[in-house]
Symmetry: C2
Subunit: 342 residues, 2 copies
């Protein structure tokens, strides 16, 4: 009955169908290269709320409601909700989902949270514990800058290795039955800490964890990068992606142009002043929901390896001189057959 | 194949065996009524570290290592580690577990985290995804006061409704096979917010969530409070326990003396100046591991309903005038048969 196929990988018996996916983003994301793919766009970062923190909860609430609607489900038909965010004590999520009255598991995986939510959600489905699971993740640029770095009104200069926290929420409904792309395998990451202490270079801090996850996944499954139509890490940006390519080359794997990073896709670094790219829990969440999910649904992508990445530090740990531990969670998602009826 | 027996409850097919449990606490806990039951005691709250935050991570590391040792397991034999704490971005956990190199799912359920970790862990076991799961939760009085209320050197006076955050870590190894008490049912809580805004009265903020969980559990299973030898909530203290008894009486259930709260058991409020009792993620975690687990193992407790409780606010949300959402997670744990060989 064991579903384990390696130290860190499980193969699901039936898989978990991704019945719907939705994304709600801020104005900067809407102006970026993926702008036309997002479902809902806020006119400004406050989204009609008094604070950035409450705005983040509104992104969560509005987007989760849309995700349910797209799956033709009412909140009471959902067995579990799994989500998380970057705010202290994850209040972006808790204040966003409380009115749904769905049994709730709060997660903290930093920017890897979408991977954690989809992994645990898919196992709850495949294990027979749930028929429907709502899984999501959110972040907010202004709330994150204030909390992790400096309040925005200070106008602090950002170094070239810095990434830009994505404002928004991405969520999916996972189901035991129905049509849609399927989560079929899960490789769960361990914490990897190579001693990076620069909170303005998260790509470098997280790249070793992503590289470790990729190597472990290939070892567990016997596959190579070329067995996937798309491999997408979460929010390494240009600096981190380059490091991953280098680290994998040393391990004997060629990461070619089919390997991208959500933080590279979501912004145009040249025109949007985003430096190394996008980051934050919402980066991989909204990019998956808006950009990859429709291509899995149409069959354009046959098999994808989705790897949200996270940096597990806090402002306090950084102030105390601690290094930044990284983590990455991998999901193998199979697209619908081309031309199949939906 | 569905294991659901109600809106919020699942019954496990095989159950998850609690193979070992361990607790490591600070000096105040060691001086309390449960002092002799704890496995490891720190001489002072810094536990040899330079900061309270690093001390919390040391509690996690030392205690998780002991939990593994008690189960005769090496870290590489554990498939997943699930844990969390109250510190911003859950660094108590991440810095505590990173050297184990076990696939990691970080959780945030505030003080209900032990319930969340044991619930998800048990489902990963029962669903065939893992053979061994390490589940735990930690908190630290000094780090929590500094973060949520005031730095200790200010000497701020605490109101009588305040509770005292437990310093320590509690953890269990869950397994598919072996002898020990068994997790057989799981009732997962939804977020309940009755509008309480006083961060010095967490018992009142969490009691409605605990009462909701109890009523839902009894409705889902068709049982009454009298079907359990022990019902233990997590950290409501004297104020919260009284509210739960009152709310359940209104719903037609008599909560008698078999109902206790870990926050009441862990300190002697008369002599230890702890006001309404103990609280924090570690409160239910160490009380379960030190006080209830041995009695389940000996068969003295035949069936227990364990309900860690949590308050899902942050200092920022409180400063912004928001109310305190509560949550509670329930686990039915069956003790070993009396006189059974171990």
């Amino acid at each position: 009955m064991s579903k384990r196929i390696g130290r860190q990988t499980v193969r699901l018996a039936e898989g978990a169908v991704i019945l719907s996916a939705a994304s709600t983003v801020g104005p900067k994301e809407a102006e970026g290269p993926l702008g036309k793919y997002f479902d809902q766009r806020a006119e400004d970062a406050l989204f009609g709320e008094a604070t950035w923190e409450l705005a983040e909860s509104k992104f969560v609430e509005k987007n989760m409601a849309l995700t349910l609607q797209k799956a033709n489900l009412k909140a009471k038909e959902v067995d579990y909700i799994l989500c998380g965010d970057l705010l202290n004590q994850c209040t972006g999520s808790t204040f966003g989902v409380r009115q749904f009255e769905i049994p709730f598991f709060g997660l903290f995986g930093a920017c890897s949270t979408m991977g954690e939510a989809m992994s645990l959600g898919a196992m709850l489905i495949d294990g027979g514990f749930a028929n429907h699971v709502l899984a999501g993740a959110s972040s907010h640029f202004c709330a994150a800058e204030k909390q992790f770095r400096f309040p925005l009104p200070l106008g602090t200069q950002r170094p070239p290795t810095a990434t830009w926290t994505v404002t928004g929420d991405g969520a999916v409904v996972l189901a035991r039955k129905g049509n849609g792309p399927k989560i079929v395998e899960i490789t769960t990451g361990k914490i990897v800490d190579m001693g990076v202490t620069d909170a303005n270079n998260m790509g470098a801090a997280m790249a070793p964890a992503a590289a470790d996850l990729l190597q472990t996944h290939f070892a567990d499954t016997g596959r190579t990068p070329q067995d996937y139509d798309v491999i997408a890490t979460g929010d390494l940006g240009t600096v981190g992606r380059e490091l991953v390519v280098e680290l994998l080359a040393k391990a004997g794997y060629e990461m070619d142009s089919r390997y991208t990073d959500c933080g590279i896709e979501i912004f145009d670094n040249e025109t949007q002043d985003t430096h190394a790219g996008g980051s934050g829990c919402a980066c991989s969440a909204v990019t998956f929901c808006a950009y990859f999910y429709p291509r899995l649904l149409s069959g354009e992508i046959g098999r994808m390896l989705f790897i949200p990445t996270g940096a597990l530090m806090s402002p306090t740990s950084s102030q105390q001189g601690q290094s930044i531990p990284g983590i990455a969670h991998g999901l193998v998602i199979e697209g619908c057959k081309k031309g199949a009826k939906k």
